[in-house]
Amino acid sequence: MSGRELLIEIGCEEIPADWVEGLAKGFETAVAEGLDRERLTAETVGSHGTARRLVVHGAGIPESQPDQVREVLGPPWRVARDEGGRWSRAAAGFARRQGIEEADFESRLRAVETPRGQYLGIRQAVPGKPAIRILPGILEGALRAVPLPKAMNWDASIGERPFPFARPVRWIAALFGDEVIPFRIDVTGGTPVVAGNRSYGHRARTAVDGESPGASFPVDSLAGLREGLRRRFVILDGGERRGRLLEALGRCETEAGESAEVGAAADVHKDLVEYPGAVLGRFPDEFLSLPKEIRDTVLIHHQKFFPFPTRPSFIAVTNLPDDPEGHVRRGAERVVVARLRDARFFWDEDRKVPLAETRPRLAGVVFHQRLGSFREKAGRMEELAAWTADSTGADAAAASQAAGVAKCDLTGNLVGEFASLQGLAGGLLLREEGLPETVWQAVYDHYRPAGLEGDLPRSPEGASVALADRADTLAGLFLAGEEPSGSGDPFALRRAALSMIRVLRDAPAAYPGHRSGWPSPRALLDRALDGYRPDGETRAGVAGKLAAFVNDRLPHAFVAPSTPRGVVNAVLANRDWSHSVADTRQRIVDLAKAVESGDYTTLAAASRRVRRILTPEIREGKGAGLDPALLTEAAEQELCARLERVEAEVLRCFAETRYFPAFQALATLSPAIATFFDDVLVMAEDPAVRANRLALLARLDALFSEVGDLSQIEASAS
């Protein structure tokens, strides 16, 4: 490999763990782009990130930019020579200024075509600059281009321009081959951070004889950095850190005799530490009587520890290879026991009174200043959940009972301490009281799904309570004039709407025993508005706003890689909040499938063309006056005949809610439509023929409109 190695290490104070990968990758991309832009393209570019460093390295980077030949333009060609055919004064002056001797005029001066005409031109060689002089600019540009989730001001500047970053930069190693790249970050009132050839390892450990922990060490290459760091308890490669972490977890799991619940957290944890280790901690068996959800909240959310399914143990990830004295384990155990003790106190307190008996306390929890307390909300939710459950054949009594107490845990100790347990806490308390599963699960699940993502409630009764909660909140807060504006959505109503849409979209498939009867968003919100007994005028205004709000969110619930925006828009052209969300979804999925297999490009183009040709009055006629006898040309007769067959098929399939065959049938019209537009002049001179042809197109358009707006499809589907 020719060329030199580039090595840049930006040493930082601890970068948030979940930023590390993105920052390293973004830094790498920006460096690579900078090298390309300056014609210093590397053979390879790569990056590494840890909590305390972002490293980019490049290989095979040229010593300097390649020389370039640049065309320098002089006066217009028409004035380059005088009447005698000799070089004019203007031309000669220009050439001399470019350093060309008169003897070379004939060989160097030439005509150049430009968009503005012919000009006198001279080709000049521009020697490339050495890379070491270009790299500081590339480095600055790349650092400024690193995508920061949140920038921090730290009184730093590069070249007098402020330089906010993820966290303060404490050292920079920047090498091009064995040369240090001249680069510095100035710090107001402090010492500049000047690029050098030294790095830093673990703050408190080193395996290098005679070196004190945290001391700097020299680096000469990526390989040297990697090895130097390894000897100082830092693993540079994220993949290797992950591997070590999993190994360390594995050792703890063997010791515990059970697999821990790690999941995707290992990916973030590997960037929380530079030298992953793990210790197994235990807590007294007595805490096993505490519901697992509560234990896990303590372990995962508060301590970032990994729980086990059944063992009274946990794993703590450490930034140390070992824990010979057991300090780390004992420390972690002490924290866990203290927090579990707290949690058990709250659990025991909350269990002293049956949840339903705490319902009066909801009077003291304000739902909204203008809408009263959660006590009233609970009443409305009972009614709404019962109605929804009843419509879909679920247990309305259970849904109503659950809805009535779903919010009671808000006044309890557990939720007061661990807000993320809302819903779960109530469900667990009801389970403890021995209530039927239909009831306690419905309470437990009623915050699900958080939006478009996440699990649905496990039962249709749970879904009914969730829908009641969302719909009541939307209806109420819109009545109170709290609809979101711009970026402000303090009551998370957008999320509430998406959650509602999501449940309605997926409920029929999720609860096979309750496929039908799920209300449309409109029906549900109408019912929810009833609960507030608004006067007619207020109600109409709010219903209008809710319609726009929900309709705006519908596309979000449908757009997916397999269902592109164009297809979604095509179907939503005649479907809105007043239709079944699940049915709309079915149409979209089926249309997307049909678009993939059939010729919808022709249909979309035809749809656009037909709409252009037809006046609104003719469109509204839907082809009522069509007289097949007046169709004279083969192409129009063919289209008419096919249209009648396909129309019957489409309408029959629609009636049976079998959309895919309907959309397939529609696509079979494409050849006849194409031939029609090729062969037939719609705007015939004879008014009767013309009117009849327009009627034929109107009928075609009417069939298209059954599906929606086909003209939307092409843009994104192809």
Partner: protein
Amino acid sequence: MTFQELIAKLTGYWAGQGAVVVQPYDMEMGAGTMHPETFFRVLGSAPWKVVYVQPSRRPADGRYGENPNRLYKHHQLQLILKPSPQDIQDLYLESLAACGVDASQHDLRFEEDNWAAPTLGAWGVGWQVVLDGLEISQFTYFQQAGGIELAPISVEITYGLERLAMYLQDVEDVYDLAWARGVDYRTVRLADEQQSSRYAFEEADTAALGRGFDEAIAEGSRLIESGLVIPGYEQCLRASHLFNLLDSRGAVSVSDRPRRILAVRGLATAAAHRHLAEP
């Protein structure tokens, strides 16, 4: 190391680094950040180094002296360095070493934890410092205070003294801490915890607290307008504490909350702006 030795050690360490040692502010407050030595000093460009202990009241955390980890009133050791020294993390680790924490034998982490105090119009970015799973300090680079963008940036380090002391003394119950040789935390503080919890949860007259809150806001606005920034800010502290008391009684409704927070924030912001305007 006793509780008072820990305080002396940390205070002495930072005094050795050039920090001015000041005393706790003589008013109730929820955190050391609210002390004028932090709130006003982080504004403007004048360099400043200060360290102090601030007893911090969190009425909702009162547990009648029955919870081994939770207190109505705990102690924070608060440090402000402006501008932030570039080796601040090392200095901080040295301060722990001075208290006997051997970093090579413990897992010490800086975990992302951004801080925001809506009532002060303040926020910053930084970490919670976690020692073997126990959060012992809050480490924050102030970005804004009183609604004002800050430059230079101050670093604030807040040590949770009870937690750190429990760790160092290896005790499970805060009341078992040795405050001084032969004198435990129980002897010094238990009665205060019991009585303050009873006051906050049972006896406080919420109507009077609510009136007091409104009076403090009105008085504070008046004082700040007339240029008495510090007395005005003291009314902001008073209002903030009354709000916390009301909150611990469950007497702040969801809709009342934003109004009251905005009122306190309005005072803090006004005080900050006025402070910068006056030479």
